[in-house]
């Protein structure tokens, strides 16, 4: 007789983009799985499921984390921000506008992760140097390697934030 995987559940309050959700979560579920499969927030992508690519980056209490490598249970009661909480296609926020103007993406699969990492950076450092930008985004892979344009996008966003137009 084969044993099935043991599963038990817990009720948590998940605050996502300012809204509280009461969710019953399996103890094995990652934050990414809950965002995508339970809440239907598919902006965070599953690129590797082991914290190597950054496509699933969201902010937890302001810090960028790989949501594939955090259990939903760990996030109960904390503030989660996803790309859906920023602009939408008809009204991009400043950072997203900068990515559009500087062509900071190709296939776009990595884009939500980069946007979240860059959001965390610019909220704590309004005038990052090139090295600081690279250090903050090094955990996000772009296999199209649009890195040159992504760096330019973040620089442009930082300039517009500090009042200098790019």
């Amino acid at each position: 007789m084969t044993e099935l995987p043991i599963s038990y559940t817990a009720n948590i309050t998940l605050n996502v983009n300012g809204t509280d959700h009461q969710i019953e979560v399996d103890h094995r579920w990652t934050l990414l799985r809950v965002l995508r499969d339970v809440l239907g927030l598919t902006g965070a992508k599953r690129g590797c499921d082991r914290g190597e690519c950054g496509a699933c980056t969201v902010l937890v209490d302001g810090d960028p984390v790989c949501s594939c490598s955090m259990l939903a249970l760990q996030v109960g009661g904390r503030r989660v921000r996803t790309v859906e909480g920023l602009g939408n296609a008809n009204s991009l926020n400043d950072l997203q506008e900068a990515f559009l103007a500087e062509d900071g993406g190709q296939c776009g699969f990595c884009a939500p992760g980069f946007i979240m990492s860059a959001t965390a950076l610019l909220e704590t450092n309004v005038q990052p140097s090139d090295d600081e930008i690279k250090a903050a985004l090094v955990g996000n892979l772009c296999r199209c390697n649009a890195y040159g344009r992504i760096i330019e996008s973040v620089k442009a966003a930082a300039k517009s934030k500090t009042g200098q137009r790019p």
Binding site: T42, A89, N90, D103, Q106, C107, N145, Y147
Partner: protein
């Protein structure tokens, strides 16, 4: 000088806003009511026969809805050498069985309950070994595809070598190298009676529709494939087995099924750049004139053929066509092994072939005492093409990768690439050396040629919709390269309206006409030509319809951004919506066979790198990189620069760090993760300058030629030659990791002491 409304302008990428906000749906984002999750059981053996499969325990697990095995799956073929599922497995990771269950965890648990009895078979993991007479057979007919090499000859190579004062020869290797698109393959399948809908990560919805139809024996018209957005592939996502398995599971379960590959599966069961071993011989006169070239490539296609035959041919283009030479030969050996299957990956075999050719060109120049740039200036193929006799009948479209001589190029900016690139890197001015004696700097270069352009029959429709919307409809997929942006630019320019006014429908087999896959750097040229023609026809039609409304002769009317107006009395006009109101919605279709009967259409380029080698650690740093390209007129500079920069950075991975490693003892892929298959990050992105030659191709749409793949060709040779220039050590094997560089420093300096 022609002034354009939108061509040559950096219009924003059409699909980027939705991608930046997470609204863009990729295949894995599709959720359907009642959808199940599928998982695939994979072979633990590199080569085995499946004797039996016991699925009873798996099927009796509550929440498991369907199982499929080679013993009960439909008998169709996914590819000529690949059934839907097979009782023989050919690499570690080959598909054995599949299940569909209520959720992923259950599906995973069910896989553990499937009992498979294997009889293991002898295996081979190396292509050079595989084509030896005593190697274990991976296939009944032997491992060498077709039983003989692909041999392509122009002129008489023996005579060419006899004319040479000196002959040089060397052997180079490149590893299996994974594109590792950030989006792992995913497919969702749903049946409604006899009708199947598949959402899939793909670069060709029509090609997938056809493949699904053939494999499943379901009429093509009953199958709809939706491309959604595609999380890139660089060519590697041509593979239908996943779609077919998903469809079979969905049919059996009576529910929609989704399968998403894990990252490990994507590495192993995806497709990668073929590993190669290439020997190049070059005969030269003492004055540097090339008299003969002969290249031989042994290429590992892995367990399946996939795009192998095209890739092995492409690996020879450099040797056959880059240097002006009457007498050349290429022999390509494509070998099956019991390793993951190679596939098409950006520029196919060209990067491998050019790495060998352009490394040897450096060795030859040095031995002759000629500057490497001067050697290329002296020998590169010119506008007139190669010497020799045209073989293709004059009424036929010329192959864009010909072997024959006697045919000119439509345009050739290779010389200009050499000039502008060398100037930007300050060629001829030696690198400034740091004080630390372990840090040595040098410069290197490589040039390249690439076919592209014609991609087969291409269709575009243009429609004036009832509300006045101008819509372009093509079966293309935008795979991240930007055709969704460039196609409406072409249409808008031809129509004479603003870029934003042209709406686009792409990537859905049910609503778009047949298109070639977005492959081989052909989309802009082929579908672009069809789009331009469709826009021309629509313009004519709109003016015809407007003429009676304005009581004017069609020849006195022109399109404006509002609608149609009289050329001399602009106040006499009618809007697009009024025209549509009066005539009803109307549509035109252009179907073209792109190419030329008189000219070969190729792209060219030259890459230059300045590197710093740490001789204590073997670490190589790219200080400056210059990529100079002739891709005809650049239709959207910002997108083009992004594409070139991205390709260079991607191929710095191929050059310096990335390789798929197979354990020869058991066929297991050792590094199927981003931590171990080391890809470039933002911190590795070098100081880079992208330059475009001032070329307008007389055939391409608005003068454009191919761009997507060419920038990936020049990287490895430019860097290898720069390392040689810095430290006098020739690296012949990729990737040039620190340990390899250190070993070569020791070995080659040891030799000379």
């Amino acid at each position: 000088m022609t002034t354009f409304r939108t061509i040559g302008k950096s219009e924003p990428r059409r699909d980027l806003p939705e991608k930046l906000t997470g609204e863009a749906k990729y295949a894995a984002d599709v959720q359907l009511p009642g959808m199940l999750y599928g998982k695939i059981l994979r072979s633990p053996h590199p080569h085995a026969r499946i004797l039996s499969i016991d699925v009873e325990a798996a099927l009796s697990l509550p929440g498991v809805h369907a199982v499929m095995t080679p013993f009960d799956s439909p008998k169709g073929q996914v590819a000529p050498d690949m059934p839907i599922l097979d009782t023989e497995t050919r690499y570690v990771g080959d598909e054995v069985a599949a299940v569909a269950a209520d959720d992923e965890d259950l599906a995973e648990a069910a896989l553990d309950l499937i009992k498979v009895e294997y009889e293991t078979l002898p295996f081979v993991t190396d292509a050079v070994e595989a084509i030896k007479p005593d190697a274990p057979h991976t296939r009944p007919g032997g491992n060498l595809v077709g039983g003989k090499p692909l041999t392509l000859v122009r002129g008489n190579p023996d005579e060419g070598f006899a004319e040479a004062d000196r002959i040089f020869e060397d052997t180079y290797s490149t590893p299996a190298h994974h594109g590792a698109a950030l989006e792992p393959r995913a497919a969702v399948a749903s049946w409604d009676g006899d009708n199947l809908t598949v959402w899939k990560s793909t670069r060709g919805v029509h090609a997938d529709q056809l493949a699904l139809s053939l494999a499943l024996d379901v009429p093509r018209g009953n199958i709809r494939v939706m491309g959604q957005n595609m999380g890139a592939g660089y060519g590697t996502k041509d593979e239908t087995r996943l779609g077919v398995i998903t469809a079979v599971l969905a049919q059996r379960a009576g529910h929609p099924v989704k399968i998403e590959l894990t990252r490990q599966e994507e590495f192993v069961a995806g497709r990668h750049r073929h590993g190669t071993t290439t020997t190049v011989r070059m005969g030269v006169k003492n004055d540097g004139t090339v008299t003969a070239v002969h290249a031989t490539t042994i290429m590992d296609t892995g367990a399946y053929l996939s795009a192998g035959p095209g890739v092995i041919r492409r690996a020879g283009q450099g040797a056959l066509y880059l240097y002006k030479c009457a007498n050349v030969q290429y022999d390509g050996y494509l070998a099956y092994t019991n390793t993951p299957a190679g596939g098409s990956y950006r520029a196919l075999g060209a990067p491998q072939g050019h790495f060998a050719l352009e490394s040897l060109a450096d060795t030859v120049s040095e031995a002759l005492g000629i500057d490497p740039l001067e050697f290329r200036r002296k020998n590169h193929v010119g506008l007139e093409g190669q010497p020799g006799e045209r073989v293709t009948p004059t009424h036929e479209i010329l192959d864009t990768q010909p072997v024959e001589g006697g045919v000119p190029f439509s345009s050739n900016g290779l010389r200009e690439c050499l000039e502008i690139g060398s100037e930007a890197i300050a060629w001829g001015q030696p690198s400034e050396q740091p004080e630390a004696s372990n840090l040595r700097r040098g410069k290197g270069m490589g040039m390249f040629i690439y076919r592209g352009g014609a991609g087969g029959k291409s269709i575009a429709r243009m429609r004036l919709e009832s509300d006045g919307t101008l819509r372009l409809i093509t079966g293309l997929m935008d795979v991240g390269e930007g055709s969704l942006t460039v196609m409406p630019q072409i249409a808008a320019e031809e129509l004479g309206v603003d870029y934003e006014q042209v709406q686009v429908t792409f990537g859905d087999s049910a609503t778009t006409p047949e298109a070639p896959i977005t492959a081989g750097s052909t989309a802009t040229f082929s579908t672009g030509t069809a789009t331009q023609e469709a826009a021309r026809q629509l313009k004519e039609r709109i003016i015809e319809v407007a003429a009676p409304l304005l009581d004017a002769d069609p020849s006195d009317l022109q399109i404006t951004s509002e609608g149609v107006a009289h050329v001399r009395y602009p106040e006499r006009g009618v809007t697009f919506s009024k025209i549509a109101e009066s005539a009803g919605e109307f549509e035109v279709e252009a179907s073209i066979m792109p190419g030329s009967r008189d000219h070969v259409i190729n792209s060219f380029g030259a890459h230059f790198a300045e590197v710093e080698v740490d001789t204590d650690t073997g670490q190589v740093r790219v200080l400056k990189y210059v990529a100079a390209h002739d891709s005809g007129r650049i239709l959207n500079p910002k997108l083009a620069i992004n594409q070139v920069e991205g390709a260079v950075s991607q191929m710095l991975g191929f050059t310096m760090t990335e390789q798929m490693l197979t354990d020869p003892r058991n066929g297991v892929t050792l590094n199927a993760s981003f931590l171990d298959h080391k890809s470039p990050t933002l911190q590795d992105f070098p100081d880079m300058q992208v330059l475009f030659a001032d070329v307008v191709d007389p055939i391409g749409p608005y003068g454009a030629k191919a761009l997507g793949e060419p920038p990936s060709i020049g990287v490895a040779p430019a860097v290898a030659n720069a390392i040689y220039n810095a430290i006098g050590v020739r690296i012949r094997d990729l990737p040039m990791t620190p340990d390899r560089v250190l070993n070569e420093i020791e070995a080659q300096r040891g030799d000379s002491q």
